[in-house]
């Protein structure tokens, strides 16, 4: 029979309670009998004792009447006697009405009643004689009737009291015997109650301790890591239900732990894949793609892929612009070399012109001294002048070519500055992406911290992303500094170009002035042929003109020297620009970019 713990306890305690009630009932009945016996014996003796006291009080009235002479007191004393008789009759009647009187007590009571009745009637007649003043008759009546009856009455009451006391002693003896037997009955019932209680307690205790021990054993095995332990209690009471619930809980818990372990393995695999991609990105390989999974890491992987894709596109543009800058700088170097070559040729031409002018001046000086050879000298002077004019024309053309080259170079440098601005805007875009990635990484770090132990791996990834964005921001800062240097150098170069153009224009004007003076010299020399005789007169004038021409050539030579120095500075700036362009190309070239970024994302 399968009982619950509650039913077992109720059954056990009910049985014990019934036995205890039985024990209490036996004791109660016995105590009630004892109490009734005691009440009856005490009451009988009390009634008889009170009737005896009243009888003695009645008998004491007669001596008092003899001693008292006051009529009022005597009448009062006589009037009190009927009440005493009534008390005697009442107590005697109550005694007779009590239950449990023996036959001897009933007979004694009957006898006492008769004597008391007779004594009361004789006492009434005695009182009448005393009231009427018949003392002698009263004395005779008293000696003859009332005194013997009083003594009989006293004796009857005393006998009945002695009889009652003897009977009460017998009743108490019987009651003690019954109480003794009841004591053994009480002991037997008490012993039986203890035995039944012990057996019931043992059975209930065993039905409770065995399942509890089994539960404690299984809990100990679980504590030591044995998750295969099960309770499997055979009972169907509350502890059996607890064991069954614990087994079900362990089964569900083991299944949940297994599922959690699988989920953690998948998440760890995703994080490892993401970390490998982050390591490749940290090594500046922007072709690396993080595997996009369906878990929370997949979102981060997709964001990193998008970031690397956008960064790759931006760096590709930077790379193209850097190549353009490098090509432009190389072209500028070539043009600067050409300008330098042209300037050197110009200086040689000026040197040659200066030498020829010196020669002309010398010849003009000889004109005065060698007037007889003036015609020949004039012819030579005209030839030298023609040569000088050709040189001046060549110089003017060289200046024009130089000015056109410098103008073209100025345009290219301005375009270079514009492309540098484009680089700045692209770098600003990269910097914005880096900042947003930084904020995204900080938010991811805080979410990972909120997730606690489960977010530790995610926190490592977020920290790597944050470090990557910081590196990207530093790289953009370096690129910005390089672009700023390029723009500064370009601005200085443009300034130098403008200054160079001004010098070339000025030198060209001076060369044109020299050409005009050459024409004048040629005309003068031509006139010398026809005016040989006037040579002496005009020799001083020609000498002054030649001296002016020499000064102009000297100024032209100085201008050419300044131009050469400006070109040297320009070559130095161009070399610096080319160096920066190559460093920019090398810096951007460290990133490994896919040939088709848009296609790589899929």
């Amino acid at each position: 029979m399968s009982l619950t713990i509650r039913q077992k306890l109720l059954l056990s305690f009910g049985l014990l309670l019934a036995l205890l009630l039985m024990l209490v009932a036996v004791d109660y009945l016995k105590i009630r009998d004892l109490r009734e016996t005691l009440n009856k014996t005490q009451s009988k003796e009390a009634y008889l004792g009170r009737a005896q006291a009243a009888l003695w009080e009645v008998r004491f009235i007669a001596p008092q009447l003899i001693a008292i002479t006051d009529p009022v007191a005597r009448n009062k004393l006589i009037a009190s006697e009927p009440a005493l008789h009534e008390a005697i009759d009442r107590d005697v009647a109550i005694y007779g009405s009590l239950e449990g009187l023996s036959l001897e007590e009933i007979a004694g009571h009957k006898k006492l009643t008769e004597i008391v009745t007779a004594y009361r009637e004789r006492r009434r007649d005695l009182a009448k004689l005393i009231t009427e003043g018949k003392a002698e008759e009263a004395a005779q009546w008293r000696a003859q009737y009332t005194t013997p009856l009083g003594e009989s009455t006293v004796k009857a009451i005393s006998d009945l009291i002695a009889l009652t006391q003897r009977k009460d002693i017998e009743r108490r003896a019987n009651q003690d015997q019954a109480a003794e037997s009841a004591k053994y009955l009480t002991l037997a019932i008490g012993t039986l109650t203890l035995l039944v209680g012990a057996v019931a307690a043992t059975l209930v205790l065993r039905s409770l301790t065995r399942p509890i021990k089994r539960l404690l054993t299984v809990l100990g095995q679980l504590t030591e890591g044995d998750y295969t332990a099960r309770v499997r209690l055979a009972t169907k009471d509350e502890l059996g239900q607890v064991g069954l619930a614990l087994d079900q809980l362990l089964d569900e818990r083991l299944e949940s732990v297994a599922n959690q372990a699988k989920e953690n393995d998948r998440l760890n695999d995703s994080i490892i894949g993401l970390l490998q991609t982050v390591v490749q990105l940290s090594n500046k390989d922007l072709t690396a793609l993080a595997p996009v999974t369906e878990d929370i890491v997949g979102t981060v992987s997709s964001s990193i892929n998008q970031l690397s894709h956008e960064t790759g596109l931006a760096l590709g543009e930077v790379q193209q612009i850097a190549n353009s800058v490098r090509q432009t700088s190389e072209h500028v170097v070539v043009q600067a070399t050409q300008v330098d070559t042209t300037a050197r040729a110009e200086r040689l031409a000026l040197k040659e012109m200066s030498e020829r002018l010196a020669q002309t001046i010398g010849q003009l000086g000889e004109v005065a001294a060698l007037s007889q050879n003036s015609s020949q000298a004039a012819t030579q002077a005209a030839a030298a002048n023609d040569a000088a004019m050709r040189t001046v024309d060549a110089t003017v053309r060289g200046m024009d070519t130089l000015r056109e080259s410098i103008s073209e170079m100025d345009k290219r440098f301005k375009r270079l500055g514009e492309r540098s601005q484009e680089i700045s805007s692209v770098v600003g875009l990269i910097n914005t992406i880096s900042e947003r990635t930084h904020v995204l990484a900080m938010n991811a770090s805080m979410q990972a911290a909120t997730a606690g132990e489960a977010g530790r791996g995610f926190a490592v990834v977020a920290e790597e992303v944050q470090r990557l964005s910081e590196n990207a921001r530093q790289a953009t800062g370096q690129i910005s500094q390089l672009v700023h240097n390029i723009q500064s150098e370009t601005s200085d170069t443009v300034f130098m170009m403008n200054r160079l153009i001004e010098l070339v224009v000025k030198q060209s004007e001076r060369a044109q002035d020299a050409g005009a003076q050459m024409v004048q010299t040629r005309d003068t020399t031509s006139a010398l042929v026809g005016l040989v005789k006037q040579i002496a007169a005009f020799s001083q004038q020609q000498g002054e003109l030649a001296q002016q021409l020499r000064l102009s050539v000297a100024q032209l030579n100085d201008g050419a020297l300044t131009t050469s120095e400006a070109i040297a500075l320009q070559n130095q700036s161009t070399s610096t620009l080319l160096s920066f362009a190559r460093r920019l190309t090398e810096t951007v070239g460290q990133f490994k970019l896919s040939t088709s970024p848009a296609a790589s994302l899929g």
């Binding site: 900042e435 904020v439 900080m442 938010n443 805080m446 979410q447 911290a449 909120t450 944050q466």
Partner: protein, 151 residues
């Protein structure tokens, strides 16, 4: 070493534990609160919830932060949102946030530093990283702000 979220409020470098900090918000709209002190710069709608926005530079007596008047660039204003439910609050800061780390026994350094009395009262630790950030007890700070608003 315990990580914390470092921010810049005016000239102050402050930090809050990740146990309180929740997210950084870049785009937000600030609504002024009538009759509020200067350091309660307004309320913002963050993810559908209204959160109060505090300027700790103004509260600490370091002068009002100029981040709210910067529209873009590295110095523009951002919000550091922290707490849950009704206890959510936001701190306005400028520039980029950064992760800092601090040791629990660094409170002695913070206690001996020359900080304003208000900041010293809610100081928790000092970061090990450079520049040094002062890690604040967010709950104690918000209780202090609430008490001052109630008076």
């Amino acid at each position: 070493m315990t990580p914390a979220q470092g921010i810049q409020c005016g000239s102050l470098n402050l930090a809050f534990s990740f146990a309180w900090a929740r997210s950084i918000v870049e785009d937000f709209s600030l609504t002024p609160v009538p009759n509020a002190p200067a350091w309660l710069v307004g309320a913002a709608n963050v993810e559908g919830e209204i959160v109060p926005v505090f300027d700790l530079a103004s509260w600490a007596g370091d002068g009002a932060s100029d981040a709210l008047h910067t529209e873009s660039g590295a110095g523009r204003a951002r919000l550091l949102v922290g707490g849950f439910g009704d206890e959510r609050a936001a701190i306005v800061f400028s520039g980029s946030a950064r992760m800092v780390r601090y040791a629990p026994d660094s409170q002695k350094i913070a206690a001996g530093s020359a900080l304003t009395p208000r900041l010293s009262a809610v100081m928790l630790a000092a970061s090990e990283t450079t520049p040094r950030h002062w890690v604040l007890d967010a709950r104690q700070l918000l209780d202090q702000l609430a008490a001052e608003l109630a008076t």
